[in-house]
Structure formats: C-alpha cells, structure tokens
C-alpha cells in the first residue's frame, strides 16, 4: 500500500497576500486576518435529544451550549450556534476534535468534522462594521450585535457563520466569520473590494483573534 500523508493547506493560500492593500497614505481602516490550523466540529442533536446534548456539552466544555444565535466562549473552546439544536465547537491544539468529543456525545448528538471544510476570517479595524455593511444585510451595530452575538447568514450569496469576538485591546470590535472552504477565495476577494477604499492590513495567524 502506497504511503502518503495529508498536508493541511489553507483554502486562502493563493488569494491571501500579506501586507497592505487598497487606499495608500491612510491608516488602514480594516484588518483582515485568516486564522489557520483550527479544530472545528459540527455538533447536531439527534432527534429529540437536545436536552441530553445540552447536558453533555455543559459537562464537557463547562459552559452552556448556545440554543439561540450567539457564541459562547470557554477557556479553550468557542461554541457557535449554527441552527436549531446544533452548534460548532471551535478550538485549537487538538483538545476538542472528533476523536476527543465522540465519546462525550455518543448518545445525544451526531458529529461532523469541519476543520478543513471552512476558512476562518477575522475582520477588525475602525471601518470593519462599515465594510461589512456592504456585504451583510444584518445590523451589526453594537446595540444589537454585542460581543458574543452570532448569526448564520449570507454574505455575497455565500453562507457564513458570523460572530462577534472579544474586542481588541484598542477597543475595536472583532467580527469572525467561517465560510465554506471552496467559497473562501470568492468571499475574500469580495471583502478586499469592499475594504479597499479604507486601506487594508492583510495577514494570517495561527492564533484566534
């Protein structure tokens, strides 16, 4: 049997060019950062088993699983609501993978590994909300989309899971979005077009925003 190994590669490997983009001679109004190498597991309750799933999630993660559109953070995982009776578990370092979670949810939920099926993009900066307003029809004003708010929605006809993370140290809001890997490049270019007028600082990171 032929020996081979999988080499994880970012779906934005070609599209992402780190550095400055768009308007020059201005302080960049947008920072676009791709977060690489994460573990992402879709957890969906089996028929009639949401209560069991919620109990199992509380025991496993130490926080209550989201049952409305929001993102709940624990020390080493973020649980992102993705629809009725389902959420995504986002983590790093192999702590919450299919292998480590399957036992905890064997009775209550079906799990699906999405680690290499999505790209994770973090949008921040003084003009982040203004730029996202071009692409999203939902209101991202802090009064209605505070830290921890989440939405399963569409941007540029592409389904995304969008949530607001903790603010940056300088107080700027951070919007995280998960997009299907094969749509990531398309959405990336659309976001660059939308952000160009404000000046963009492009990068990628191994750490969550």
């Amino acid at each position: 049997m032929a020996e081979f190994s999988w080499l994880p590669r970012s779906p934005l490997e070609h599209a992402l060019v780190a550095g400055a983009y768009g308007a020059r001679d201005v302080e960049p109004g947008i920072a676009l950062t791709e977060i690489r190498n994460f573990d992402l597991v879709q957890i969906m309750a089996r028929r009639g088993r949401w209560a069991d799933l919620a109990n199992a999630a509380k025991a496993r993660f130490g926080v209550s699983a989201p049952d409305t559109p929001k993102a709940v953070s624990a020390s080493d995982v973020t649980l992102i609501w993705s629809g009725p009776d389902q959420f995504l578990a986002l983590s790093k370092g192999g702590k919450h993978t299919m292998e480590t979670l399957s036992q905890a949810f064997s009775q209550s939920a079906s799990l699906s590994d999405q680690s290499h099926a999505r790209a994770l993009i973090s949008v921040t900066g003084a003009q982040a909300r203004t730029m996202l307003a071009k692409l999203s029809s939902i209101d991202l004003h802090p009064a209605v989309f505070p830290i921890g708010a989440a939405a399963a929605t569409s941007m540029d006809h592409t389904s995304v899971n969008l949530w607001r993370g903790n603010d940056r140290p300088d107080g700027q809001a951070v919007f995280n979005l998960l997009v299907f890997a094969t749509f990531a490049e398309s959405l990336w270019h659309t976001m660059l077009d939308a952000a160009a007028e404000y000046g963009v600082d492009i990068g990628h990171s191994e750490e969550f925003a």
Partner: protein, 91 residues
Amino acid sequence: MRIVCPFCGERELGEFTCLGDAKPVRPAAGASADEVFDYVYLRDNVAGETSEHWYHGGGCRAWLKITRNTLTHEISSVEPAAGVGAAKVGA
C-alpha cells in the same frame, strides 16, 4: 420583503427559498393515479391567505411554514415546519 425566521430573527428575502404550497398531503401507498397526480401537480391559485413551505438556506437551514397573503404579500405567521430541530419533532 423580509421574513422573521423563528430561529434567526428578521432576514432579507434572499436568504430564503420558497418550496410552495404547504397544504398537499402525500397520498397513502396504493392511492389512485388521479390522487397522486393531484398531489404532485395540481395547486390552488389562491388570491388571499395561503400557507407555504420556505427554506432558510442562507441562514440556519431550517424549513419554515409561512402564512402569506398573495394579494398584499403580508406575512401573518412564520413557524418551524414539522420536525425542524431535533427537539421539535412533531411541533
């Protein structure tokens, strides 16, 4: 037009797809050809309030049952379709 998804809140029409009339009920096995033809093809062209299945494919991917007035486009109710969400089977 905007639709208030019971799971996501108010969203634009573009996130939704209309499946059509929610009234037809699949005939039992052994039903006559006429009954099956009726179920598959024949639809009432309602002028007024009608119930439809819609799919929130651009959002939470839940199936919804929507009561809509075809004359005014007013939506008077949006509820999860039967079986939506594992905890809501039979709702």
